[in-house]
Symmetry: D2
Amino acid sequence: MNTFGRLFRVTTWGESHGPAVGAVVDGCPPGLDLCEEDIDRDLRRRRPGQSALTTARAEEDRVRILSGVFEGKTTGTPISLMLENRDVRSRDYDALANLFRPGHADFTYEKKYGIRDHRGSGRASGRETAGRVAGGAIARKLLAAAGIRIIGYTRRIGEIEIDDARIDLDAIERNPVRSPDPIAAEAMAKHIEEVRAAGDSAGGIAEILAEGVPPGLGDPVFGKLDADLAAAVVSVGAVKGVEFGDGFALARMRGSQSNDPFIADGTRDPFIPRTDWRIRTATNHAGGILGGISTGMPIVLRAVVKPTSSISIAQRTVRRDGTPTTVRVEGRHDPAIVIRVVPVLEAMTALVLADAWLAQRALRGRDPGA
Amino acid sequence: MNTFGRLFRVTTWGESHGPAVGAVVDGCPPGLDLCEEDIDRDLRRRRPGQSALTTARAEEDRVRILSGVFEGKTTGTPISLMLENRDVRSRDYDALANLFRPGHADFTYEKKYGIRDHRGSGRASGRETAGRVAGGAIARKLLAAAGIRIIGYTRRIGEIEIDDARIDLDAIERNPVRSPDPIAAEAMAKHIEEVRAAGDSAGGIAEILAEGVPPGLGDPVFGKLDADLAAAVVSVGAVKGVEFGDGFALARMRGSQSNDPFIADGTRDPFIPRTDWRIRTATNHAGGILGGISTGMPIVLRAVVKPTSSISIAQRTVRRDGTPTTVRVEGRHDPAIVIRVVPVLEAMTALVLADAWLAQRALRGRDPGA
Amino acid sequence: MNTFGRLFRVTTWGESHGPAVGAVVDGCPPGLDLCEEDIDRDLRRRRPGQSALTTARAEEDRVRILSGVFEGKTTGTPISLMLENRDVRSRDYDALANLFRPGHADFTYEKKYGIRDHRGSGRASGRETAGRVAGGAIARKLLAAAGIRIIGYTRRIGEIEIDDARIDLDAIERNPVRSPDPIAAEAMAKHIEEVRAAGDSAGGIAEILAEGVPPGLGDPVFGKLDADLAAAVVSVGAVKGVEFGDGFALARMRGSQSNDPFIADGTRDPFIPRTDWRIRTATNHAGGILGGISTGMPIVLRAVVKPTSSISIAQRTVRRDGTPTTVRVEGRHDPAIVIRVVPVLEAMTALVLADAWLAQRALRGRDPGA
Amino acid sequence: MNTFGRLFRVTTWGESHGPAVGAVVDGCPPGLDLCEEDIDRDLRRRRPGQSALTTARAEEDRVRILSGVFEGKTTGTPISLMLENRDVRSRDYDALANLFRPGHADFTYEKKYGIRDHRGSGRASGRETAGRVAGGAIARKLLAAAGIRIIGYTRRIGEIEIDDARIDLDAIERNPVRSPDPIAAEAMAKHIEEVRAAGDSAGGIAEILAEGVPPGLGDPVFGKLDADLAAAVVSVGAVKGVEFGDGFALARMRGSQSNDPFIADGTRDPFIPRTDWRIRTATNHAGGILGGISTGMPIVLRAVVKPTSSISIAQRTVRRDGTPTTVRVEGRHDPAIVIRVVPVLEAMTALVLADAWLAQRALRGRDPGA
C-alpha cells in the first residue's frame, strides 16, 4: 500500500540509500500549470540542513518531472517525479545491520518481511516523505486555484507551547522552528539546543490549518474527511496521534459548550439580500468538520510527533539473535523532527483535500463551492 | 465510500428511520463457524436502552444472516446482515426538518447532497454503527481463532478518569458506564446523571486494547496499521481525535524516555534454548506499533468522544433559509455517548486487524505469528 | 470481490437457495427520482418463467428498497436492494451435493473454498445476477437523464444469426428470444425447442448498443472503457468472450479498411456555423471506442454465451472422492441462457458507463458532453 | 487509473517522447531473487527493431531498478523501474499536432482532456507497454517459483492461421512473427511484407497459454479470473476482443459438446492410492476457468489485435477545427503490431495470475496448490 487517495492518487517509492526516491501522481486534472520549481519550493521546506537545528545531511532535492506535463501544463496522464539520493553514506549504518534500534522500525520490518534494507532505515526513513511532499505540491496547486490554502506550523516542542494571542502566520518561515509565535520560537530553539547537547531529542505538536475549504467535502461513512485526514496524518512516521478542532479537550466539555451555534452572516444588515446570507458556525470547536463533511469553517488539526528515535545516549537493545547489547545512534539526526514534519503534514492534508474536492465534483457535477 | 477494508471488507447501509440497517461482509475466509447469536452478542452491547444512563429508544437488534453461511460455517461468499428498524418515531423529527441542529451533520449533509433525510439524522445517525458492530463481530471471531482479543472501555467522562492501578477488565461490563475501574464507574454515573438533569451532555475518552497481535501486521507506507486504525476510529461519529501508546503526552517527552528498549525474554534462563527467546520491548510507549507495523506488544489506542450533540438546553441556530431561531433537541438521547461508542471502536479495531492479518498472510503465505 | 465500480459501485450478495439476494449501490448522486417499479421493470426482463423457452422456476422478483431513497429521490447514501427467494426447492439438489456437474463451478468452488453451498449452484447461480440487474437499473436511470440509452438483444443462437438488414429494435421484447430480427426470432425459437426436446442446450451471442455516449469517457491506461466493459461482461456467468466494434473480424482486415475516417458534420452546409460542426467518424469499426475512450459514436459490443451447462443428457463426471459416475441434470433450466443474459449485460454496461461518466465529471468539473 | 491489480499492483507512467517511461510494482512479496537482466530479457522481446518486420525505432530498453531490491532480493517495498527514452524524434510528429489520425486516440484524448501531448501518440503510444512488460517480468518470476509458466504466440495474421497439429512452442522465438507453426510463420512473414509494401497494415490474433495454474484462483463475482484477464488483455492498445477456451465458437455448440467431463487420473491404476487421484477435466473447452475460478487445466485465451492504425496510404480525416484534410502517417511503424503485442499480453496475464495467487494465499493461508 504505497498508493494514497481515490481520485487524486499518489504512489511513492524509494529507500533512503538507494539511487533515488520518487512519486507518481495519478488523477490530476489536465490543464494545470506546473513546473519543477512549483515542487522544489515545497521540497526545500522539508529538506534537511535548513538550519543548525536540523540534521546536517545535505540533499539538493531538485525534482525531475518525467511525465504528465506538456508545454508547462498537466495533461491528465500520470506525473512521475524523481529525486536522486546524493549525500548517501551507507557505511554509517553497517554497525546497525544486526541490531534493533529502539523507537525505529528495524524490528518490525524484519518481522514483517524477513529481510530489510538497513541502510538509513531503508523505506522507513524520513527520506520517504520527499515523495509525499512532491506529490502534495501538485495537490496544493490544484487547491490554490480553488481558493484553498493550507498552513502548518509547530504548536509545541517539549514544554514550550505557542500563545494563540501571539500567532503571526507570516512569522512561521522566519524562524528555524516554524513557530508562528516569535517569542515561543526563541524558547523552542533554546530547548532544542539543550536537548541536542544532551544527546537526546524532543517531541512536539504540529498544527495544520486549511482555509477556504467549501462546505460539502468528505464522504460519509468510511470516507469522512476527518477519517481520511487522520489516516493521512498518522501515516507520517513519528506521528502518534491526531485531533480535530478542540480534540482531546472535548472530553472535559459539555455539549452546551462544544456545540457550535449556526449563524447567518448578513441577517442584520437590511441591505444584504437574503439570498446572500452565508450560513456558518459562530465558533469552531468542531475544527471545520461535522459528520465527516466540511462545514466551510477553517479545518484545524493537530498531530503529536514523538521525540526523534535516533539519540546518541546509550540505549538497551538486542541483536537480531536476541543477545543483549547497547546502542548509541550516532550520525546526522534532527533533535526535534516535528519541525520537518510540518511540511509533510501540509502535503498530506493537501492530498486529502484534493481528493475530496474531486469526489465532490463527481457527485454534483460542478466545482465545490461554486 | 460506505465500504471499509481491502481484503476483509464491510459495506454498511441504512438510515435511522428507514426500514432497516445492515452490512455486507466480503472477503471473510471460508470455514469459520458463525451463527446469528455470535453477532447479536456484540449488538446487545451497542444497543440503546441498556441502562438508565443511555437513550430509552428500544431496539431489539437481532440480526438476520441472509447469505454467506451454509450449515453453520462461512462459505467465503459475501455475508449479508440485516437489522430491522422497529421503534421508529419519525414524527419526533418533523420540527427539525427545516433547521440545522448545532453539532449535528444536518447542515453539512444539506451542503453536500442538496437533499437529506432529516428523520433521526438519517444516515448520520448513530444507528448506522449497528452495521459496523455486526461486521466487526465476524472479524472478531476470525481474530479470536488467531489468538487476538480486543477489549474496550471508558477511560474518562468529563473530569473523571480511571486510575490505572485499579483497572479490572472483568469489571467493564458490570457497570453502566463501561469503566474498568469500579470506583471511577460510580463517579462517572453520578456525573452523567447531573449532566442529564441539566439537559446537557458529557464528553469522554474510550480506550481500546488489542492483545495477542503477532508482530508484522500493517503495511507501510500508506497502509500503516496505526493509519488504518486512525481512519477506522475517526470514521465513528462524535470521535474527534485518536492517539496511540503514550499519544499526545509524547510531545513533552524526550527520546530517552519514549524509546522502548528491546529485550529478549528467556535470555537469563539457561534452560531456555536460544531459539525460544522472544524479542519484545520492555515498555510500550509506542502502543504496540513501530513504523506502522505491529511489534507484538498490546496495541493501545484512545479516542476522544465529543459530548452528545443533542441537548435539551436551548441553543442558537438558523433555519434552512438563514433566519435565526433557537432549538431544544428533545427526545431520547444518550447524555454520554462515549459509553456506547466503546463497542463500535472495538468493532472497527477488529475490522482493521482482520484486514491486516489477511494481508500479511498473502505476503508471507502462512498465518502471521505461526 | 463482490463489489464493482470505482465511483458508482454495486456490491451484490446472496445465494440461489438462501433467504434472499440483493445489492448495495453506493456512490449514486443525490436527487435522482427512484422508485421500486423503476427496478422491477428491469428485473422482470431477467426473470425466469417469461416464456415457454426459459426455465419454469417462478420468482416474483419484486425489489425492496431498504435505504438511500427519501420521498422518492436518492439521497446520495447507499441504496440497499433486496429480493426474497421464494420458489426454492433445495431438495432438487441433494443428489448433486457429492458430485461435480460438468460445465458448472461445483469443482472450482470446492477447490477454492474447501466448502460450498451446493443448493442450486449457491453463489454461482444465475440468481446472483438479479442483484446486478437491480443495481444496473439505477445506473440506467442516471444515464437516461444524461441522454444515454442502452439496448441489448440476441444476435445468434446456435447456427441462426440475425440479418442486420432486418434489425428492428422495437421487435426485441416482442418475441421470446429477444431477437431484433422477427424472422430470425422464429427460427431461433424453433431451434431452442429442438435442443430442449433432445435434453440439450444451445449457445449464442448477445449484442449490446449504447447510444448517446458523449466522447471522452474511459480512463487510460488500465481503466480504459473497453477494458472495464470487458471485465463487466466476462464477469457474467456463461460468458466466454467479448468483442468491440468489428471485433475478431479485425484480424482479417487491413488498416485501410479498419480505420474509421474522421468527418465533421455540417462542413458542407454554409448555414451551419463552424462552431457547430460536430466531429465524428464516418464508419464505426472501432465500436465507439479509441484508445480506451469513447468517441461519441454508438458503443457496440458482443458477448458469446456458452450453452447452458445443465442438460438432462447423461454426462460423465466424478464424485467428490474421484470415483467415476454419470449425471443427468434434471430440474428447471433455460435451454438457451443467452436470452436471459441480455438484460444482465445491459445492466453491466450501464454500471460501467455510469462510473465512467462520474469519473469524467470529476476530471473536468462538468457533465460530460455539456 | 494507471494502476493495475489489487495485491500485486503495477502503476505505469510515461509518454512516448518524454524523458522516460516506467513502472512502480507494489505488493511483491519479499525475498524474491531479482536483477535487471530478469526484466531486460522480457523487454527485449517487446522492443521495436527486432527484425525487418517491426518498426525501425531502436530503443535500448535497459531497465534501471531504483528501489525495492536489496542485495539481489526484493524487500517487499515498492520496486521502481525506469527506462529512458533515447531514440526520440519529436519533429516527425509536428505535422500531426493539428489533425486527428484515423484509428488513433488523438481525437478521444483531446475530447477527454482538452489538451494532449501529440508527440508519438503521447501516453497512448505503444511505448507505454514497456512499463507493463517490466512489471510483468517480476510477476512472471514470482509465478515461475510457483510452477506457473506463461507462453504467448501469434495465432493468426490476416488470412493465415497456424495449424494446431504443427504447434511447436520452441519455434515461437525462432521466427520474426512469433508463430509456433514454422510453416505458417513463413506465410505470415510474406504477407506482412506485401502489406507493408502497399503502405498498409495487417490485423491478427494472439494466443496465450498459462500452464501449471493450480485450481482455485480467481474471485467470484466481480473478480473472476476471466473477468480480470479480459480487462487486462483489452487494456492493451489495439486489442478489440478476447475469448477463453473455445470462445466465440461456443455460440454454435451444444451443452453436450461444450461441457468438459470430469475425470480422475489414476482411478484405473490399482497401484495409485485413492488419495493421489487427481481430478481434472477430460477436455478443455472452458479454457481452464469455470465460474471464474481456475480448474487446474491450462488457461487458454485469445486476443484480436486490430491492424496497426498508422499507415502510409492517404486517409480522409479532419483537422482540430473540423476542416477536412487527408493524412499519410509516415515514420517508423509496425505493419502487424500483433507480433509485439504478444509479450505485452504475457505480461498482463502474469500480473493477473500473480494477483489472484496472492489473493488465494490470503484466503486460505497457504500457497495455492500446496
